[in-house]
Symmetry: C2
Subunit: 162 residues, 2 copies
DNA sequence: TAAAAAGATGTTATGTTATAACATTAGCCT
DNA sequence: AGGCTAATGTTATAACATAACATCTTTTTA
């Protein structure tokens, strides 16, 4: 499995496979860690994985209401907090939105490529760049706790179509 | 002038000089570009430069009210939009906040080091890392329009104090 | 097993961030 | 004056996020 350098989500790919992998991995990780992937959390994760587009919290709220009429903002934000804490999703800071993580389990720093046209987000782990960043931080004597590296632009597929 | 690799803002530095440089540079650039650094825009820029901490829009609103009682959110957001469009400030995506740019005039991509302890933000332009990023984007066949590279952690000064 | 503790969710309210839409004003050109 | 553009004023509301406290459920442990 060489997911670390996959292409920007190909429209023809087997997305059911993405979803299935994400959900089973999540279940296994939570079990192994002794934390609960409760029904609410599972549903939110599933909704996030409906596509490779970043999803907003209130979109999730709207989409979960048919399943869970009593859902409120806190319902969603708590589930999101949990999923982030377990590394199952990422927050896209520059969009106030969320995407499923394709590298769950391994702790990692990621580069997010956000297409302005199709809204899909590709996650990459560019070793060389991250090494260079680490070096820069060292020379700045700055101790990093978290990193947001987000690039907005146009993906290959959308560029080809135009 | 070697601002491109300055340290995380030293508490003892001559900040009046920072402010003076920023405001005069802004005035010159706007004149040269035929755009107007109006009183409101100038005031907002000045307020942003009160420190090297990132400032929130509604903080600016509160701080400008003594000077301009009629100020409303749109007043601030319009000024911020203008200052960003002219490259005089940066938006810090992961904080929903704003900082003065120390490299105004040159278009540039920047790395922001955000100290959780003192809230100060250091702007750097790490050539090697940015080259590596450009290469990665090329190999992903992704055309970048804008970049947000934001690191949260603890700066040297704060680490030393602890 | 009963009590206590910890974790998860329900519920209400509110705080924070940002924009839409339309009116008005100021400066400039003809 | 009349018409244009850029900037600002003004009102309203949309969009994003958390606080605080109540309740329920699961696990721990006496
Ligand atoms: Zn997929
Ligand atoms: Zn695209
Ligand atoms: Zn300074
Ligand atoms: Zn600091």
């Amino acid at each position: 499995m060489t997911l670390s350098q996959t292409q920007h989500p190909d429209p023809a790919h087997d997305h059911d496979h993405c979803v299935h992998t994400a959900l089973t991995t999540a279940a296994h990780l939570c079990t192994a860690r002794g934390v609960q992937l409760t029904p609410i959390r599972h549903q939110v994760l599933e909704l996030i994985w409906e596509s490779h587009k970043a999803v907003k919290a209130y979109e999730l709220l709207d989409r979960i209401k048919p399943l869970k009429a009593a859902a409120k903002p806190a319902t969603i934000y708590r589930a999101l907090d949990f999923l982030i804490s377990q590394g199952l999703i990422h927050r896209v800071e520059s969009l106030n939105a969320f995407i499923g993580c394709r590298c769950s389990g391994r702790s990692h720093e990621q580069l997010l490529l956000i297409c302005k046209h199709c809204q899909q987000v590709e996650e990459r782990t560019p070793e060389i760049m991250l090494k260079a960043l680490a070096k820069e931080l060292q020379s700045a004597q700055f101790v990093a706790h978290s990193k947001a590296i987000e690039i907005h632009g146009i993906c290959k597929q959308c560029a080809d179509k135009a």
